[in-house]
């Protein structure tokens, strides 16, 4: 039996890169899209790649414009394909917007958290119009080297710029361990019967953000945990975050060595307050999604971070 040729869009980004490695490690799939010469923003190149694959994973991350542009190109070119290859579309829990409480896949899609959530929802709608698509809505992916929800958090915890946030950290931390996310993507590629469906991906009974920070700080040895005062949070998100973000962009653009300080962004603060809990029982049932225990996941993330410096 020939291997399933999977085109990964966003293969130069973190999740896409890991997905390619995972696909290659299987005995049933191969990965396309991570060749240095391949530019998925080039319509001709993308069209050619679509014609040469059996399935696609849209794992493009980034700004709202990048998400929109990637979805537009993909679905415009994939729509006319006669073979109707399976597309696994990686969306985000932000499509639920400001909803609170337990949220399953039938909950209203508000996407009222700004441009990012709007772009994710618009991309999902394009995906929904494609007949052989599966939409995955992961929470916050964590694990070794996960940039947003492990590395950034670790840096902030170690710098004692993040800690016990009080009421500002009462939101639910809808974590999904990276391997569980990748496993769900692989599963979604191989199950024809789930076409047209969406799945929430998160661990069951997630901790609050305060609990997550306390456990991760302990795993990192960044204890005692610091109580972060409200005025300190205001200072971080309103005064320090904009220049740090600019410095980060400039440093990346100029390929400067070293790292700029991590950003405690207003969106991170909003997320930590948000009392939304993803119900991912459907993914466990139909995708066979696994859930790494938080203790083990955090230990691995901390070990990786510590080893990486």
């Amino acid at each position: 039996m020939s291997a399933l040729r999977v085109l990964v869009l966003g293969a130069q980004q973190f999740v896409g890169r890991r997905l390619c490695a995972t696909l290659r490690a299987t005995d049933w799939a191969s990965c396309l899209g991570d060749e240095p010469a391949f530019d998925e923003r080039n319509a001709t190149a993308l069209s050619d790649a679509l014609g040469a694959c059996d399935a696609i994973v849209n794992a493009v991350q980034g700004s709202p414009a990048q998400i929109s542009s990637a979805a537009q190109s993909l679905y415009e070119l994939a729509g006319p394909l006669a073979a109707r290859p399976r597309i696994v579309h990686l969306s985000s829990m932000t499509v639920y917007g400001s909803a609170v409480g337990d949220v399953d896949e039938n909950s209203a899609l508000r996407a009222d958290l700004g441009d990012y959530s709007t772009a994710q929802l618009a991309a999902e709608r394009r995906a929904a119009a494609y007949p052989n698509c599966v939409v995955l809505r992961p929470g916050c992916e964590y694990g070794p080297e996960c940039p947003d929800w492990s590395v950034r958090i670790a840096r902030l915890l170690i710098a004692r710029r993040l800690g016990d946030l009080g009421a500002a950290g009462d939101g639910y931390c809808n974590l999904i361990y990276l391997d569980d996310l990748l496993g769900s993507i692989l599963s979604a590629l191989r199950r024809p019967e789930i076409a047209g469906q969406a799945f929430n991906l998160a661990m069951p009974q997630p901790p609050t953000w305060n609990e997550y920070f306390a456990l991760f700080a302990k795993a990192l040895g960044a204890v005692p945990l610091r109580r972060i005062e409200q005025r300190r949070l205001q200072l971080e998100t309103k005064v320090l975050a904009p220049p740090l973000r600019i410095a980060e962009i400039v440093a990346r653009g100029l390929r400067l060595p070293g790292r700029t300080p991590a950003v405690l962004s207003p969106s991170l603060r909003r997320t930590c307050e948000h009392e939304i809990r993803l119900d991912s029982s459907k993914a466990r049932r139909l995708l066979g999604m696994q859930s790494m225990t938080l203790e083990t996941g955090l230990a691995r993330a901390a070990q990786s971070f510590t080893a990486g410096g």
Partner: protein, 561 residues
């Protein structure tokens, strides 16, 4: 949802499945647990979000002996969050012995054991923001701590138990947003309950009369009522609600308001620890969650039994602030800062005693001779207490001479003659004011006297130093500042016998199907422990029972007609 009662139409009738009276630690915790529980909840708070002199004045009352008890409007707050807006944050669970019926402590014994509360303490700890439920050095820390006193072995006291400190968490500020956004909870501010009304048979509360400071009157009808107004106001409201039961609700046997307890606390003696300076540590250790923890000398339960005395703990403490002979710049600075320190804290720091001009001069001299110590302390208090959300809990002075005093906190034993009663005077809403007749017993004096004697013996035997105090002054010292402020316990005590208790083991008022009491009023005995953590644990237990009853149905939430 949150509303101001004065904005309601006159003579409105509000209905709910559960009406909670009082938005302090207990009331707020119960309301939090009932969010999305399928029940309509009304939470009535007499005060506003912030302090209000007018609301606070409703607490005013009388005390039989002003030397023994603070005025009733002190040490408690009539506002959203209740007294958690000013509490000190000390948390520890009750000990197993506190629940036992002890033949040497009259009227002791809870209707259940510590096991009954253990499932609720961990969440109580979280709600108090006091970290994990771990109250020994071994369970709270995964690394060794420096000993309180190096090479000091105690036979009669343990040295490994902890008290943990809340931020201290203002429950109103911390959890108000959750309650405001809850769809099934209505919080009404400026809503003072003036009476609870029974049906004709006297077995159910049918309504609460409520009034705002602006004079707006309305009533609340609910399936269940929970009084969570604190140890003094619970007794007041039960006694004042006398339209059907003339002696007051749950008071057929004249128990409401009796057995009123606080704690017996004081500072005494002088001890020079015969160890190097670095071998003594009486300050705080910080747990991994960032929680301040402090060890104490806790009288072992078997010793309590053998001695026939109540529960008792002690800590190493700084010398008496008011006496400038300590020659400590920081303590003198605290003395000189007394006008800036809130009454509730200043009283035990300074007492009410007047100091001579000479003493003032000596205090100034102490500060002048130790300006750097005083400045360092002032900076520490600004940074770690005033500006911090997790506040450094108390004043810790490391003695350069290894000189300390003993600060103790002891159980007060139940005494039916220590009581809260109604007076002839009424507040502006027509509710009778209270009189507090707090009394201690010989047993309370014995608890402190014998415990101190044991402690003195421990220091002597262990070669740690000599504790000097005059045993003849123990009673004077333990009442120097009167009853320990803010711990109002026992006025609607739990029990199985209505002749000696007000509520049953579920905190339901005997003989009234739908009236519950939440808070320290229900504690049959006082322990050595500060009450808030146990108040919260009991509130969680009550909320769990209410939810279980609701799940069973049987008209639980039905508003009476």
């Amino acid at each position: 949802m949150m509303h101001i009662a004065n904005e309601l139409p006159e003579n409105s009738i509000l209905t709910a499945d559960i009406c909670i009276v009082g938005a302090g630690a207990a009331g707020i915790v119960i309301a939090l647990q009932l969010i999305d529980a399928g029940l309509e909840v009304i939470l009535l708070e007499s005060g506003q979000i912030g302090p209000s002199d007018q609301a606070q004045a409703l607490y005013a009352g009388e005390v039989t002996d002003e030397h023994l008890h603070s005025p009733p409007h002190r040490y408690r707050q009539r506002r959203f969050g209740g007294t958690t807006t000013i509490w000190g944050g000390r948390c520890m669970p009750f000990d197993a012995i506190d629940f036992a019926a002890r033949d040497y402590v009259a009227d002791s014994g809870w209707p259940f054991t510590l096991q009954e509360l253990l499932p609720f303490y961990p969440q109580a700890n979280q709600l108090c923001e006091a970290g994990q439920f771990a109250y020994t050095v071994e369970s709270a820390f995964d690394h060794p701590l420096r000993p309180m006193i190096d090479h000091f072995e105690c036979r009669n006291f343990t040295t490994n138990t902890l008290e943990r400190f809340s931020c201290p968490t203002d429950f109103g500020a911390r959890y108000g947003k959750k309650l405001r956004s809850a769809r099934n909870v209505r919080v009404l501010l400026d809503a003072t309950v003036t009476a609870l009304h029974l049906n004709e048979s006297g077995q159910r509360v049918v309504a609460a009369s409520v009034q705002s400071l602006g004079g707006r009157r309305f009533s609340v009808q609910a399936g269940q009522f929970i009084l969570a107004t604190g140890g003094l106001e619970v007794a007041r409201l039960l006694l004042a609600s006398s339209d059907v039961q003339r002696s007051g609700l749950g008071n057929a046997h004249d128990v409401v308001g009796r057995y009123y307890m606080c704690h017996i606390a004081g500072t005494i003696g002088a001890i020079r620890i015969e160890r190097p300076l670095h071998a003594v540590w009486h300050g705080y250790d910080i747990s991994d969650e960032g929680v301040y923890c402090r060890r104490r000398l806790a009288l072992r339960p078997e010793v309590q039994r053998a001695q026939g005395i109540g529960n008792f703990i002690a800590r190493l403490h700084h010398p008496r602030i008011t006496d400038p002979a300590h020659r400590n710049a920081v303590l003198s600075l605290l003395f000189l800062s007394r006008p800036l320190i809130p009454y509730e804290y200043a009283k035990r720091l300074h007492g009410d005693e007047r100091s001579s001009l000479r003493a003032w001069a000596k205090h100034i001299g102490n500060v002048v001779t130790g300006p750097f110590d005083a400045m360092a302390f002032a900076w520490h208090m600004l940074k770690d207490r005033r500006l911090a959300e997790r506040k450094f809990p108390s004043i810790i002075i490391k003695s350069k001479a290894n000189l300390y005093s003993i600060d103790y906190h002891a159980e007060q034993q139940p005494n039916p003659n220590s009581r809260v009663t109604l007076t002839q005077h009424r507040d502006p809403m027509g509710v009778p004011r209270i009189n507090v007749d707090w009394r201690y017993t010989r047993g309370d004096v014995d608890t402190v006297t014998r415990s101190l004697a044991l402690l003195r013996e421990e220091f002597k035997q262990g070669g740690a130093g000599t504790l000097h105090y005059d045993p003849a002054t123990v009673e004077f010292e333990m009442t120097r500042y009167g009853a320990y402020g803010g711990h109002h316990i026992g006025t609607a005590r739990m029990g199985t016998d209505p002749r000696s208790s007000v509520t049953d083991a579920d905190c339901r008022v005997h003989g009234i199907d739908n009236l519950y009491v939440a808070g320290s009023a229900t504690f049959p005995t006082s322990s050595q422990a500060n009450p808030t953590l146990t108040i919260v644990a009991l509130a969680l237990r009550l909320a769990a029972r209410l939810k279980q009853a609701s799940a069973r149905g049987a008209g639980f939430g039905t508003v009476p007609t």
